[in-house]
């Protein structure tokens, strides 16, 4: 048996890294287990000539396509939105767009403001210092002063507008609609040992330059220097409990596939909104027959994805193609509720600069705008390097029938039952997506775009995995309390996107990490009576 540790963290991604770093100053013995390994930037796609082809295989955002031993399969056949993630040190921050908005203060009070879903048990102000701390740790670029977003203080200037940004800005100005340079975790100057962005263009499947913040190059070096231990290629199968109903440790498979038991005084789960309920539901015992921390029956329920409604077209002017980070601007024009639109809540807009030649050819052929035959060359030259995109990232409200369960058949490479997703897009979300597409069409048409195409939703767009172990003050209606501790198991904490009560209409990673830092801070303040 391994020596016991004070704190065991499961998952070395966005939230696991943040909570590990924050807790390190307690000088407790902290161990993190991750099913994946350390990344090798020299092997990232943009370091090779076949950089684009790799997104259809080894560097697909879908774990089902990648199929590496570090990945676990996901049965998402019964969902129009497919789960995408990455498994390894850094987790999905290795493969994200680095878009860095925060949830708005109003997002924490949706019941009070709009009479839907539930209010969060915490508010934006409780997270403010942790947003700021996280922005410094991850290294954020942007422009302070956006009138329609929470006030931020990015330590680096925004990304250049490039060729695409002015086309979008002019169109938005003609329409009189809000737009603003996005906060991103792309370093625009040398920052804390990271080299500045050199516009490799292929941000999502990892950044060979190291300009994009992923926690393997931000939080983890600091956490390890502070004494946190990180074991890779260790896949946790289940959390065990003792006769007092407390977590006693975890069973995991080590890098050689050998089953191990790791005892711990405190267990923190940081496995995302699919991996976390999967682990809890796999942790069945006589005391917890329906899965660990599941007396509410809500573990796995209320899955929220953020349906993405995407529309794009092609302008006469050259755009940035693959020669810039794909995201650079956002709009909050339609973020807040306006019931005259026919739906409650709203969406953020994320503008996209362009695509490389392979992606353009594949996508345009599939949409039927790039023909076979002699005209192929002429049309391709009109499309390639001229794409502008608009994506509405729609607030997904919690619904219990949208859920993660265990698949009765599908298993990972260690024989652990895989997650199964049952998810439908709500009527409210559909109306929101249609509204976003209509506004996106207006933007593109004002910009002079033609050959307009859409993805409604983006099918492989399940980046944001939220809500499946929600926080709240009522143990009957939530899985963890207002500071991340399980209602049922007093030494079990959850710090990832599972704890979201509602989803907001923005990318969630900034808020996920702020919550992880907030939970760590709450734990540190309560060390003397953490289990009371």
């Amino acid at each position: 048996m391994n020596d016991p540790v004070d704190v065991l963290i499961i998952g070395a991604g966005a939230s696991g890294a943040a909570v590990a770093w924050s807790l390190a100053d307690t000088k407790m013995h902290i161990l993190c287990l991750d099913q994946g390994g350390w990344m090798k930037p020299s092997e990232y796609p943009s370091a090779g000539r076949d950089w684009e082809a790799k997104i259809y295989g080894d560097w697909s955002t879908s774990p089902n396509v990648r199929g590496r031993p570090e990945d676990y399969p996901v049965n998402d056949d019964n969902s129009p939105i497919k789960v995408v993630n990455f498994n390894g040190v850094g987790g999905s921050t290795v493969m994200y767009t680095a878009h860095w908005p925060r949830l708005h203060p109003s997002d924490f009070k949706v019941k009070t403001l709009d009479g839907v879903a539930d209010d969060w048990p915490i508010d934006y102000d409780a997270l403010t210092p942790f947003f700021e701390e996280n922005d410094r740790m991850m290294g954020v670029s942007g422009l302070s002063g956006d009138p329609l977003s929470p006030l931020t203080h990015p330590p680096m200037p925004p990304q250049p507008l490039g060729l695409s940004g002015p086309l979008i800005g002019k169109a938005m100005n003609k329409l009189g609609w809000h737009w603003w340079p996005s906060d991103t975790t792309v370093a625009t100057m040398d920052y804390e040992g990271r080299a500045r962005c050199i516009n490799l263009g292929h941000c999502t499947p990892a950044c060979a330059q190291g300009a994009k913040a992923s926690t393997d190059i931000t939080y983890w070096p600091h956490a390890i220097r502070a004494g946190v231990e990180l074991k890779t290629h260790c896949r946790v199968r289940e959390i065990l409990t003792n006769e007092h109903g407390m977590a006693s440790g975890v069973v995991y498979y080590d890098k050689d596939g050998v089953e191990q038991f790791q005892p711990a005084e405190v267990v923190i789960i940081a496995c995302n909104g699919v991996g976390t309920p999967r682990l809890l539901l796999n942790s069945v015992s006589g005391r917890f027959p329906n899965g660990l921390a599941n007396s509410s029956g809500l573990v796995g329920k209320n899955l929220m994805f953020h349906p993405y409604a995407q529309i794009y077209g092609f302008v006469k002017e050259p755009t940035d193609s693959n020669r810039a980070p794909p995201t650079c601007l956002w709009s909050k024009e339609f973020y807040d509720t306006d019931l005259s639109r026919g739906f409650v809540r709203g969406y953020g807009i994320q503008f996209v600069r362009g695509a490389g030649p392979v992606f353009e050819a594949v996508a345009s052929e599939q949409k039927g705008i790039l023909p076979w035959g002699a005209d192929h060359h002429r049309v391709f030259r009109r499309l390639h390097g001229h794409r502008l995109g608009v994506s509405a990232i729609c607030e997904d409200l919690p619904e219990e029938h949208n859920r993660v369960t265990l698949d009765p058949v599908l298993k990972d490479s260690h024989g652990i039952p895989a997650p199964k997703i049952d998810y439908t897009i709500s009527e409210n979300s559909r109306k929101m997506m249609d509204h976003g597409l209509a506004r996106g069409r207006e933007i593109l048409e004002v910009a002079g775009a033609t050959d307009i195409c859409m993805n409604n939703p983006i099918p492989w767009g399940g980046w944001h995995l939220l809500g499946t172990a929600r926080m709240g003050t009522d143990p009957a209606r939530s899985v963890v309390n207002e500071w991340g501790r399980s209602h049922d198991v007093k030494n079990l904490f959850i710090v990832d996107g599972s704890v979201f009560v509602t989803s907001g209409g923005v990318n969630p990673t900034s808020t996920i990490q702020a919550i992880a830092l907030y939970v760590a801070d709450q734990m540190k303040q309560r060390l003397a009576n953490l289990f009371d």
């Binding site: 203060p105 403001l113 490799l200 052929e365």
Partner: protein, 147 residues
């Protein structure tokens, strides 16, 4: 022959359908997707796509009922249309394999004015753009909803 390799007939049909997707062009001074080097790239890098590509070529062979190259052009076009409409994920994969190998060929990239290199380590230069475009947004102001 390994199960992971295409048969001679399948390779012939792949070459023919690739040329139908992207024929050579004198105007743009580019080869077609049936070019030997591009075909060799496809066959050499099929990897995880092999099964679906073979499935697509089997479907194509059933529709054509003879080597695709031996069909008269009108019939061949009809088969291609039917293949694209009914081929499902296998047809999508085959077309994607053709396109991803074509659009990384040096001659094609050169014709598009693209540099023959990986993005890293040289990267690209991105112009700053006109930040004055943001002035109307700043002037208009606004206020986010506060609870």
């Amino acid at each position: 022959m390994s199960a992971n390799e295409l048969t001679s007939a399948q390779r012939d049909d792949l070459r023919t359908v690739a040329a139908m997707i992207i024929p050579a062009s004198d105007e743009y001074k580019v080869p077609g997707a049936d070019d030997p080097a591009i075909q060799a790239d496809m066959l050499g890098t099929l990897g995880r796509d092999t099964a679906l590509v073979k499935q697509a070529l089997d479907h194509l062979a059933r529709l054509a009922a003879q080597p695709l190259a031996e069909l008269e052009p009108a019939k061949r076009d009809a088969v291609a249309t039917e293949f694209r409409a009914t081929g499902g994920p296998a047809a999508v994969t085959l077309v994607r394999v053709v396109l991803q190998c074509y659009y990384r060929d040096d001659r094609v990239l050169r014709s598009l004015g693209l540099e023959l290199r990986a993005p890293f380590p040289k990267g690209y230069v991105l112009e700053e753009g006109d930040w004055a475009l943001l002035d109307p947004v700043k002037a208009r102001g606004g206020r986010m909803r506060v609870p």
